[in-house]
């Protein structure tokens, strides 16, 4: 990680390049936040891809959200998907990253580094002023007991209560407070299960699904359902605050778009079936 963190940032993104050979990391941000990984002796492709994409996360003006990476973006930059899944699993168990299931319909997962998530949680808690000050201890309990021990994307009600009661007496009001602050969401299919969520991410998720549709329709309208990557990257999406590189990566990883080498350069084509 030390080598790639010193290289220049920016540059052209190649959607399907080997992640190790692509020196795109932003020096400052990456080196500060990845002390854990820097001290590692072996790096996996997945870890480097995560760092790289975190550095490329677009700057949003309206909402302050720490960088998160979609799982499909990882699939598009590292060749072996099984290895990505396994590396992600071990990173999850080591509590370096946290995975969240998004509710944009399909099998979307967002990956966020643990420090980013904790920082985001602090912001959310600060912004949400609880009416009853005693109840706000639950946030500390949540951070200390639940986040550290439960690395899954969801948690059941009894388990949540039992983990929180390590800090103190837990009532239903505490859980309601957590939901209102945006740290947990109820699942629709099952009342007893909660998803972990990234707080304040709602508007970005809406932008994500609309941006996907817009990008797909953009390519669909061309005569041969394909477009040169260079031209595509210059466009701006109207409906999504995230930039177009984010969406391109995401759609390639989920298989809706594919890249084709051609004499002009890299083409992005809509994949049939």
């Amino acid at each position: 990680m030390a080598e790639s963190s010193q290289s220049k940032s920016g540059g052209k993104k190649r959607p399907r390049s080997e992640s190790e050979g692509d020196p795109d990391a932003d020096a400052d941000a990456a080196s500060l936040q990845s002390i854990q990984l820097e001290n590692d002796l072996n790096f996996t492709d997945t870890a480097i891809a995560l760092q790289m994409m975190k550095a490329q996360f677009p700057k949003l003006d309206k909402v302050v959200v720490r960088p998160f990476i979609l799982r499909s973006q990882l699939y598009s930059s590292v060749k072996d998907r099984t290895q990505v899944d396994r590396d992600l699993e071990s990173l999850k168990k080591e509590a370096v990253v946290r995975v969240f299931k998004l509710n944009t319909g399909k099998d979307d997962h967002a990956i966020m580094f643990m420090d980013d998530y904790l920082a985001q949680m602090e912001n959310a808690v600060k912004r949400y002023d609880a009416k009853d000050k005693q109840l706000s201890d639950v946030f500390d309990w949540f951070k200390q007991y639940v986040i550290k021990s439960k690395t899954d994307v969801s948690i059941s009600h009894p388990e949540l209560c039992s983990l929180l009661s390590n800090g103190g007496d837990v009532t239903e009001k505490h859980v309601t407070l957590l939901i209102n602050a945006g740290l947990l969401t109820c699942q629709l299919i099952d009342q007893n299960l909660y998803w972990f969520v990234i707080p304040n991410i709602g508007s970005i998720l809406k932008g994500l699904s609309q941006g996907r549709k817009e990008l797909l329709s953009l390519i669909n309208r061309t005569k041969y359902k394909e477009m040169v990557l260079a031209n595509l990257e210059k466009k701006r999406l109207r409906l999504s605050p995230l930039d177009i590189r984010f969406h391109i990566r995401d759609l390639i990883g989920s298989g809706l778009l594919k890249t084709v080498q051609s004499p002009i350069g890299l083409l992005i084509r809509l994949s049939r079936d």
């Binding site: 998907r81 899944d85 099998d107 007991y145 021990s149 390590n166 007893n192 298989g255």
Partner: protein
């Protein structure tokens, strides 16, 4: 040299059985329809369209992919040399030939099935009698059932695009009104082809006698039947497990004609089920709630529930115990530790209002086969619409309507995290997956195409595009290494290894008379 020629000829014969038989049967026109059965109707628009469609498909696929064939030739030549000097054993040679044929499948230009179904084809199955998998049973959404003979064609038609003619297989019999509504699954009786079983959306499961095509037994179920299964290794029971839209799985006994028992535990309808290929008492069911449950039918209750968050890195669990994440405060639940083996997963105990709660370690309940219905672990985020166990009984493949295919290690009950590249699986119907017997390839119907993935690494080996609408079912015939697929466009397509016979007969020692298709005969 002699051995090689002999082996080549054997290969040539084996790889195009249909052509050989066709040449023998030319002119034999005594395949009349059975008495008492109406002749197929006059060629109507659909029939003509399907002819045109077939020729179109043939022309499109006639540009054979060079890569697949050449690899096959290179491997075959090297292996033959090794076989000649004794460094390769016969069984290894056979395995190599079989696996290279299985990975070089293309739309067959020598064989086709003339399907008289008027509805989407939902189920295809070849009988599993010892040594001869010959009869193909197909069932469709219009309530019809047909049986085809895959070895012997009924007629042949010559098409102008190739010099060989296409062997056509008409159904041996076609039952036009087998069920009132769509048939979701048709199965051969596992022992022989004297009986077959059909299950339909009209809530009935019927047992038919093949020779007289009459219903022998029927069972009325409370909801529409999505799938049935019979164990092919069962010696002490002859139970048909039925998966319905009702939450209970019912076992119907063939010997007595009544229901044996019901298995309850699912929280929504059950869409797919499969008997274990290693024990005759274990049934695996996948439900619309996304859960996969393992039942031992000798005891009530589920003994294993697959949870997608329990995973192991690698296809076998690691031998050394791996460190669990730090949970100093609460005792670790079995769900968060990686080193637990198949202990039954019990629900969390109801919470008490103590200051410091220690979650009670999971206690063994009254008997080991009992798992709770409160366990809400899901194997998929949507419904589980296809299940297939590998032939060795160690792994289970499950496909879900969240468009994921997962490989589970049955013994440890964990997700092996093999990621099968992007696919889109239809969500409304159960689909039929196929796995090669040597567990190297898995065939998955993905919308209008069929994809073949390498089982262990998840990479796409091939995409088979030939159907016009969504593919529902596929069956891999291990005897001839052929793949049969059925889809909503009412066609059954045959995919066979892409080795035309004529190129095989071409030999190094034949100086004149080049008989291969892609070499020309011009003089220099």
């Amino acid at each position: 040299m002699g051995l090689r020629k002999q082996v080549m000829i054997v290969l040539a014969r084996a790889s195009c059985n249909e052509l050989g038989r066709l040449l023998k049967n030319q002119g034999r026109s005594d395949m009349r329809p059975r008495e008492g059965q109406a002749r197929p109707a006059q060629p109507n628009k659909h029939f003509v369209w399907s002819r045109v469609g077939f020729v179109f498909r043939l022309v499109c696929s006639s540009r054979l992919r060079r890569g697949g064939r050449e690899e096959l030739y290179m491997w075959t030549w090297k292996a033959l040399n090794q076989r000649e000097d004794g460094s390769l054993r016969p069984s290894a040679f056979r395995r190599g030939v079989v696996s290279s044929r299985a990975s070089s499948l293309q739309l067959s230009n020598a064989k086709e099935f003339i399907s008289l179904h008027r509805g989407a084809i939902n189920s295809l199955e070849i009988d599993s009698t010892e040594g001869e998998g010959r009869y193909l049973l197909s069932a469709a959404s219009d309530g019809t059932v047909a049986v085809f003979d895959t070895h012997r064609p009924t007629s042949s038609s010559s098409s102008s695009s190739s010099s060989t003619s296409i062997a056509q297989h008409h159904p041996l019999f076609h039952l036009p009104r087998a069920h009132k509504f769509a048939i979701s699954r048709a199965l051969w009786y596992p022992i022989d082809t004297g009986l077959f079983i059909t299950a339909s959306f009209d809530h009935y499961v019927k047992l038919w006698d093949t020779n007289s095509t009459q219903v022998v037994l029927d069972y009325k179920l409370p909801a529409k039947v999505y799938g049935i299964a019979m164990s092919s290794i069962a010696t002490s029971h002859s139970l048909i497990a039925t998966a319905t839209a009702d939450v209970q799985v019912r076992l119907c006994d063939l010997a007595s004609g009544a229901f044996a028992h019901t298995l309850s535990g699912h929280r929504d309808g059950v869409m797919s089920l499969e008997w274990s290929s290693s024990t005759e008492f274990v049934l695996i069911t996948g439900g619309c709630d996304g859960a996969i449950r393992f039942w031992d039918i000798r005891r009530p209750g589920t003994f294993l529930l697959l949870d997608q968050s329990l995973s192991q890195l690698g296809t076998r669990p690691s031998l050394l115990p791996t460190p669990t994440p730090s949970n100093n405060e609460s005792t670790s639940l079995p769900a968060s530790s990686k080193s637990s083996s198949s202990t039954p997963i019990l629900p969390a105990q109801k919470r008490r209002s103590h200051k410091k709660i220690q979650l009670k370690p999971p206690t063994q309940s009254s008997h080991p086969g009992m798992a709770s219905s409160q366990n809400r672990a899901t194997a998929h985020y949507g419904a589980v619409n296809g299940l297939r166990a590998t032939a060795d009984g160690f792994y289970l493949l499950s496909s879900g309507s969240d468009s994921r295919l997962r490989l589970w290690d049955i013994e440890s009950g964990r997700n092996t995290l093999v990621n099968y590249e992007a696919m889109s699986i239809q969500t409304s119907k159960p689909i039929q997956l196929a796995v090669t017997p040597d567990s190297s390839l898995v065939f998955v119907p993905c919308m209008a195409s069929l994809k073949a993935y390498d089982l262990w690494s998840g990479t796409t080996i091939n995409t088979y595009r030939g159907h016009y609408e969504s593919v529902n079912c596929c069956f891999f015939n291990a005897q001839d290494q052929e793949l049969y697929t059925g889809s909503n466009d009412r066609q059954i397509l045959v995919w066979s290894p892409s080795i035309p016979a004529a190129t095989q007969i071409e030999e190094a020692d034949s100086k004149g008379g080049i008989t291969s298709i892609d070499q020309d005969n011009w003089s220099d």
